[in-house]
């Protein structure tokens, strides 16, 4: 933060240089493979960058290890389904009330058991009472919940079979996604923070698996593995068909030397891109402002020396909970954005390597604690991940070319797709070892 540069400081040109290299890579992709693919990588890269910003808040600013980004991402992705899809006719009347009552019963049972635990004197009676409350609560819950679910899933099972959404604009679902993720994060953080540092990692790993399991299995909620398709796009983004049908569009596209279909897909991607850039800039602005404030200085003080911060009267667990919830909210936002970009919710596509651990690689490679670093890391690592999937088999083909055909050669070429895993692991280890501050170190 000092105005004069220290000898070890990175050059001020470092960030522009790296972003220029990144732009060049995307440009090359556009010129060689096509703009559709280049913009596709860029859009998904920016969403990854938002996830990385969330993880960076937790890991970079507070040193909290979140091994469950996938879960918060998936939960955020539920928001577009519940907010912006049209409601399934008759579903709420059939089972909506039943499900709501079941949840109310479950909440009452949980609250009651917590109150009993706190109020009753210590002893066997307390344990028995709490167990009894929980057991009765569970069976009442199942008795209300199961018939409601059956009723909802019976409605038009081939196309719906779920509750559907509220039919509100998709942009509203983005902050709702953030809220959903924040709620889950609060529950996890409340129990796992303040204990040993890696308990949080293990607890988040668990909640992530559970959230994805819920999304896969609860058909009344999001059709489970049957997927929800046709999630409406957020406000300014047009549909390709509408664009092509617009009078004068084809002529304009031709004037640019583009096929109208291609022009429409490119325009849609550009609209998403603009939207994502606005969100990223807002997020970076907000977190830079927050980190410059007394609150941000306190967070850095806690990260750099917990004991001395505690001695100054800072409540470390509360601050950690706060930043953990904030970071998870950002991941939830990214989840909602990703689902609106894809236009569909496919719960079986959530894979921890891709959506949890790859994000950690992005943050570490970009530079822990540096917001621009997370953006750079997000896009760059996503680019490498996608391209390594293509390059792996090509390189392997070239290497294995002179060898005779046979089991070994086929095996090696088939395994080449896993090279990107190896690449990411080695990248993470090398950066952690030789350049722990990442490509764009924190100022």
């Amino acid at each position: 933060m000092s105005p004069t540069r220290q000898p070890g400081d990175p050059s001020p040109l470092r960030a522009p240089l790296f972003f220029a290299i990144l732009a060049l890579l995307i440009l090359l992709e556009g010129l060689t493979t096509g703009w559709n693919s280049a913009l596709g990588i860029l859009n998904m890269g920016l969403i990854s960058a938002i996830m990385a910003l969330g993880i960076n808040l937790q890991w970079g600013t507070a040193g909290l290890f979140n091994a469950g980004a996938m879960g918060f991402l998936a939960l955020g992705g539920l928001a577009p389904v519940l907010i912006s899809m049209p409601p399934t006719p008759g579903a709420f009347a059939a089972g909506g009330m039943g499900i709501l009552t079941a949840f109310v019963v479950a909440t009452i049972a949980l609250v009651l058991s917590v109150v009993t635990w706190r109020r009753m004197p210590k002893g066997r009676a307390r344990g028995l009472a709490v167990t009894a409350i929980l057991l009765v609560g569970f069976f009442v819950y199942r008795a209300l919940f199961d018939p409601a679910v059956t009723a909802i899933e019976a409605i038009n099972p081939s196309a719906a079979g779920n509750l559907g959404g509220l039919g509100l604009p998709t942009l509203i679902s983005w902050p709702v996604g953030a809220l959903l993720a924040a709620g889950a994060a609060w529950l996890v953080g409340k129990t796992a923070l303040g204990l040993r540092s890696d308990y949080l990692a293990i607890a988040t790993l668990g909640i992530a698996e559970i959230i994805v399991a819920v999304l896969k299995n609860e058909q009344w909620l999001d059709r489970g593995v049957l997927n929800v398709n046709g999630i409406p796009r957020p406000w300014p983004v047009p549909y390709e068909i509408d664009l092509q049908a617009r009078p004068g569009f084809a002529e304009k596209a031709q004037a640019w030397g583009l096929d109208p279909t291609l022009a429409s897909t490119l325009l849609v991607k550009l609209a998403f891109l603009a939207l994502f850039i606005v969100v990223i800039l807002l997020l970076i602005w907000a977190s830079e402002m927050a980190l410059k404030s007394p609150w941000g200085r306190m967070m850095h003080a806690i990260r750099d020396n917990e004991t001395s911060a505690a001695a100054m009267g800072k409540n470390i667990t509360r601050r950690h909970l706060q930043i953990f919830v904030l970071g998870s909210a950002v991941i939830g936002l990214a989840g909602a954005m990703m689902i609106s970009l894809d236009g569909q919710m496919t719960p079986s596509s959530y894979n921890p390597l891709r959506y949890t651990f790859l994000i950690l690689v992005m943050v570490v490679v970009g530079g822990s604690g540096s917001n621009w670093g997370s953006v750079l890391g997000g896009v760059l690592i996503w680019y490498l991940w996608v391209k390594a999937g293509d390059w792996g088999p090509e390189i392997m083909q070239a290497v294995m070319g002179p060898l005779p055909e046979g089991d070994f050669k086929t095996h090696m070429i088939n395994s080449a797709a896993h090279m990107r895993m190896l690449l990411m692991g080695i990248l993470l280890l090398v950066v952690l070892r030789f350049s722990p501050r990442g490509l764009l170190p924190e100022k």
């Binding site: 040193g63 290890f65 091994a67 569970f138 199961d146 129990t191 796992a192 204990l195 040993r196 540092s197 890696d198 308990y199 990692a201 293990i202 607890a203 790993l205 668990g206 909640i207 698996e209 559970i210 399991a213 819920v214 896969k216 299995n217 921890p352 390597l353 651990f357 950690l360 690689v361 570490v364 095996h411 088939n414 395994s415 896993h418 090279m419 895993m421 190896l422 990411m424 692991g425 080695i426 993470l428 280890l429 952690l432 070892r433």
Partner: protein, 335 residues
């Protein structure tokens, strides 16, 4: 009679599978707990170490089978196991030399080591996939059953079936031998004692002239052995799939923490607590209930939780332990 039928059904569907699964979890949790007590971090790469070790064992098994070597009624994989352990141990020692040693030298924070183990996890995962691919592989051979449903029926004349698969018996026996050997090693040998001393108080151990590098090396070798055995047993009992091994780290961590991380006895008890809760809560109790309460004709499966939520069981137990007794049942370490 009905009560006995209920007991047989319970043994067949809950007790036997949960015991085998519990033994596998216990071995896995022992590996995690050893790393934790000596190197002081939670090793996220443990599941992939298990997968790597198992992949090596499978390759050697195939090699042996191709040479015509089998183990009679027992799975050939048991012959391949020691070789698999040796390869995995070399791999672990290499990883320690190249990756982890540096962080010990600079005395990095535990959470940095956890991040490093994520990097190792990626690499191990990729190596396993290179070696053996991502498909489901069944490598159990030899006799399939010790007691098949038919022999059971002939033995007892009962209509309720009971089966005991060879792999289940092998799992329990191998796990018992492994645990006994491990406890003998930790309790009786000089190296084992120095490991426990190192775990209890690093500075004091260093002052007494214990060579930390040696302790760390032995720890990695033991971990490699535990991981390979656990992985192979799990693969024999169910089947091998790289991704399942990645997912199994959650119940393994839960077992270690429930028992008290850093405490070997706790790891074993934790493994069985997790496995019995998981199997018990996801088992459809209809049959047992039908025997016990003949008048009651339940319309559902009387299943408390769908099997898809088995991870939720480990998670909920984990959360309960974190809330009520963060040190675990057997008072593990809390740093």
């Amino acid at each position: 009679m009905e009560v006995i039928n209920a007991l047989v059904a319970l043994t067949n569907y809950v007790i036997i599978p949960a015991t085998a699964y519990g033994a596998q979890l216990a071995l896995g949790a022992l590996g995690v707990t050893l790393i934790y007590s000596i190197l002081r971090f939670s090793n996220f790469a443990h599941g992939d170490t298990m997968a790597f070790g198992t992949a090596v064992v499978i390759l050697i098994t195939w090699g042996l089978q191709a040479m015509g070597i089998t183990f009679g009624p027992l799975p050939t994989a048991l012959i391949a196991l020691p070789f698999g352990i040796a390869v995995t141990a070399l791999m672990m020692l290499g990883t320690d030399r190249v990756v982890y040693r540096y962080y010990r030298r600079i005395r990095a924070q535990p959470v940095v080591l956890v991040m490093v183990s994520v990097g190792v996890m990626f690499v191990m995962n990729a190596l396993t996939r290179f070696l053996i691919g991502v498909d489901q592989i069944n490598f159990a051979d030899g006799e399939r059953f010790i007691i098949s449903a038919r022999t059971w029926n002939q033995m007892t004349g009962m209509r309720e079936p009971l089966t005991l698969r060879t792999t289940q018996a092998i799992t329990v026996v191998t796990a018992a031998i492994t645990v006994a050997a491990l406890f003998w090693f930790l309790g009786r040998t000089r190296t084992g004692k120095s490991m426990r001393a190192f775990s209890d108080n690093e500075d004091l151990a260093l002052l007494s002239g214990i060579d930390p590098d040696r302790v760390v090396k032995v720890t990695w070798v033991l971990t490699a052995a535990l991981a390979t055995i656990a992985g192979t047993l799990y693969g024999l009992d169910k089947s091998f799939k790289a991704f399942t091994y990645f997912q199994i780290v959650l119940p393994i961590f839960a077992s270690a923490i429930v028992g008290g991380i850093g405490n070997p006895v706790g790891a074993i008890v934790g493994g069985f607590i997790i496995s019995f809760s998981e199997v018990g809560l996801t088992y459809a109790w209809k049959k047992v209930a039908g025997y016990l309460v003949p008048a009651w004709e339940p319309d559902g499966l009387v299943q408390l939780l769908s099997t898809d939520y088995k991870f939720a069981v480990s998670f909920v137990i984990l959360i309960l332990v974190l809330i009520f007794r963060p040190t675990g049942i057997f008072r593990g370490k809390v740093v």
